[in-house]
């Protein structure tokens, strides 16, 4: 049953064809990603001379660890929140047919048609002192004077969740859509009510999509720049903003490179742990 690496559904490709198909993408990855990343990372250990001082600086000053910790916490929060919001939407989408399904999909994809900048700016309008949210809160009497909503971690989490939600909804929807309807019937006839059937059958079968969406959103949120820098407080920076600041304001490339190195390491570790704990490939393979 074990198929070769370059073999799918019994079809085998010649080595030349494989290389030809992969060449454009890998060229792009190498020249636009691996090469700059490599040179940046080499900067972190070679400047001013071969040294680890740049990394020592990251860990010496507790402020950087705080930023790192805050970034992790907020990325986790964003992922959990968007999971909680996405699951019902994905379930609804997977159970809809016809015009209703088209409408729901359009709603989810709509944000993709406007730029992240626009979406983030929209939130800063909503959350400002005399914005819609403050007016509403005062209107229903929850607060008598405007709250400070903008430039808070809450603002960043809400806006980032909004921006990243499609990346959660779509994989979950895909996984749910692939579950044959008969499984739920089989569960029902076995005595499972709708909730039990969802918990025992639908959820485990949708797990690859859920984990895929979760890790996609989590990793994206870890390195997210625009939303935190526009809606966040400068006192509560996330790591992407910090890196950008080091490069643009302090012109401290080696130190920025060391921060990138730490972030990259973190992402790698998290991905590895995730795939180990949830046996990621096995589940993806099992659903293929």
């Amino acid at each position: 049953m074990k198929a070769g690496f370059f073999e799918a559904n019994g079809r085998q490709m010649s080595r030349g064809a494989i290389l030809l198909l992969m060449a454009p993408f890998f060229a792009l990855v190498i020249f636009a990603f691996l090469y700059p990343l490599g040179s940046l990372l080499s900067l972190s250990v070679l400047e001013p001379s071969p040294t680890l001082t740049n990394y020592e600086r990251v860990f010496d000053n507790p402020i950087y660890a705080t930023v790192l910790y805050r970034t992790l916490r907020m990325a986790l929060l964003v992922s959990l929140l968007s999971l909680a919001l996405s699951l019902p939407v994905a379930i609804l989408m997977a159970n809809s047919r016809g015009p209703k399904a088209v409408f729901l999909t359009a709603c989810v994809l709509l944000p993709f048609w406007s730029s992240v900048l626009v979406r983030t700016a929209a939130w800063s309008i909503l959350l400002q002192r005399n914005g819609l949210v403050n007016e509403f809160l005062q209107g229903i009497g929850i607060t008598s004077e405007p709250l400070r909503l903008l430039y808070t971690q809450g603002a960043v989490v809400i806006a980032m969740t909004h921006v990243l939600m499609p990346f959660m909804v779509l994989p979950i929807y895909g996984a749910l859509r692939n579950i044959p309807f008969d499984y739920n019937r089989a569960a029902a006839i076995c005595g499972a009510g709708p909730l039990r059937s969802f918990w025992e059958v639908t959820l485990p079968l949708a797990m690859p999509g859920i984990l895929g969406g979760f890790i996609l959103v989590f990793l994206t949120a870890l390195g997210y720049f625009i939303t935190p820098s526009l809606l966040g407080s400068p006192q509560e920076m996330m790591i992407a903003t910090l890196i950008s600041q080091q490069i643009r304001e302090n012109l401290d490339w080696p130190f920025a490179a060391a921060l990138v190195g730490v972030l990259t390491l973190l992402v790698t570790i998290i991905t590895l742990v995730f795939s180990k704990v949830f046996r990621f490939e096995r589940m993806l393979g099992a659903r293929a």
């Binding site: 008969d182 019937r185 089989a186 569960a187 006839i189 005595g191 499972a192 039990r196 079968l205």
Partner: protein, 365 residues
């Protein structure tokens, strides 16, 4: 074999009372009434679109009837959701949960009923033994062949001792040999465990060999409900006659005692030939090809025909002949001990009067 699974058994009766189901303007099931005795094995047989699956799904609770009632074991289940009906079901495509081991799949209904883990494991293993898959509990469904998977599905359906077992074309995904093996397996389980079976199939051979009674459906309506033999030998209408097995159908004139062909050859029919009263006038004479035999042309009481084709098929041969008015008559005769018949040859066809059936012409499909 295991006491846990084979105890407590006697099937439940199923009463389907004036069931109707419409999808938009389509009447998928139209006024179907059928009473199934406890422990009986009933096959629902019909072409696709006949409503047989809709009837089954209504009994399972997956379809809400537009009208009518469904009683299982004397209890009105019409509005009861499937998970509260306590029936077992085997689906067409196995539908084993791919994320659970074979053992956990079989134990699933027990888990839903709050049976403790050790006990469910024991009962699941017992059920697997019943379908001859003892020791397979730790494997994943994917590691089993199609036939094995369907047997696991069977084990899952019977593990909690349901009084009713529903099967929705359970064998159609299997190849011929496996299918026959499974037919025997299901019959054996039915005999051993005594539950009531409702079995949907479009395969008439399967229905004839397995079921105590066969219900034939066409376009949402019940055509006939009879034991296999009666269905084959005395189909109650032209649709049932043509749907089961091969049948020669000849247009005739009926005067109340004699059926006359256009060329004035006629046959005197016993009263038993008509299942219901056939009014005089145009009618259809139906006779199974294997009830006909070849004699010399012109023999009294035989039909004169010309052979157009001879299809040799081992034990039997198929003769395709034409009467003088052009209507085709097929004969199935034993190949051995038969004088060779060639295309173009004139023969006589001998028709035992008791083999002929008469139907009113306007009842044709």
């Amino acid at each position: 074999m295991s006491q846990t699974v084979s105890s407590n058994n006697k099937g439940a009766s199923i009463e389907i009372d004036r069931l109707a189901k419409t999808f938009g303007s389509v009447r998928a099931v139209d006024d179907v009434s059928l009473t199934i005795e406890p422990g009986e094995f009933v096959a629902l047989l019909g072409p696709s679109g006949s409503g047989k699956s809709t009837v089954l799904m209504s009994v399972a609770g997956f379809e809400r009837p537009s009208a009518g009632r469904i009683m299982i074991g004397g209890k009105d289940c019409t509005r009861l959701p499937p998970n509260k009906r306590d029936i077992g079901m085997v689906f067409q495509h196995y539908t084993l949960f791919p994320h659970l081991s074979v053992g956990d799949n079989v134990a699933f209904p027990l888990k839903m009923r709050g049976v403790a883990k050790a006990e469910r494991r024991r009962q699941a293993e017992a059920a697997l033994e019943i379908v001859r898959l003892g020791g397979y509990g730790d494997r994943m469904p994917k590691q089993l062949s199609g036939g094995q998977q369907q047997r696991v599905a069977l084990a899952r359906a019977i593990v909690y001792n349901p009084q009713v077992l529903l099967m929705d074309e359970p064998l159609s995904a299997l190849d011929k040999n496996l299918r026959e093996e499974m037919q025997i397996e299901i019959k054996r389980l039915h005999a051993e465990l005594g539950f009531t079976v409702v079995f949907v199939t479009h395969d008439q051979g399967e229905a004839l060999t397995m079921a105590d009674r066969i219900a034939i459906l066409k376009a949402g309506r019940l055509q006939q409900v009879s034991p296999a033999r009666e269905l084959y030998e005395r189909p109650s209408n032209l649709f049932a006659a043509s749907f089961i097995g091969e049948m020669n159908m000849l247009p005739v004139q009926w005067d109340g005692a004699n059926a006359t062909f256009s060329e004035r050859e006629h046959i005197r029919l016993p009263d038993s030939a008509s299942i219901e009263t056939v009014p005089s006038g145009r009618a259809v004479l139906a006779v199974r090809p294997e009830r006909l035999s070849v004699t010399s042309p012109g023999e009294t009481g035989s039909w004169r025909a010309t052979v157009s084709d001879v299809v040799y098929a081992g034990a039997g041969s198929l003769l395709i002949t034409h009467l003088h008015d052009g209507s085709e008559v097929r004969l199935r005769v034993a190949s051995a001990g038969q004088a060779p018949v060639r295309p173009g040859q004139a023969i006589g066809i001998k028709v035992p009067p008791e083999a002929a059936l008469l139907y009113p012409a306007d009842a044709a499909r």
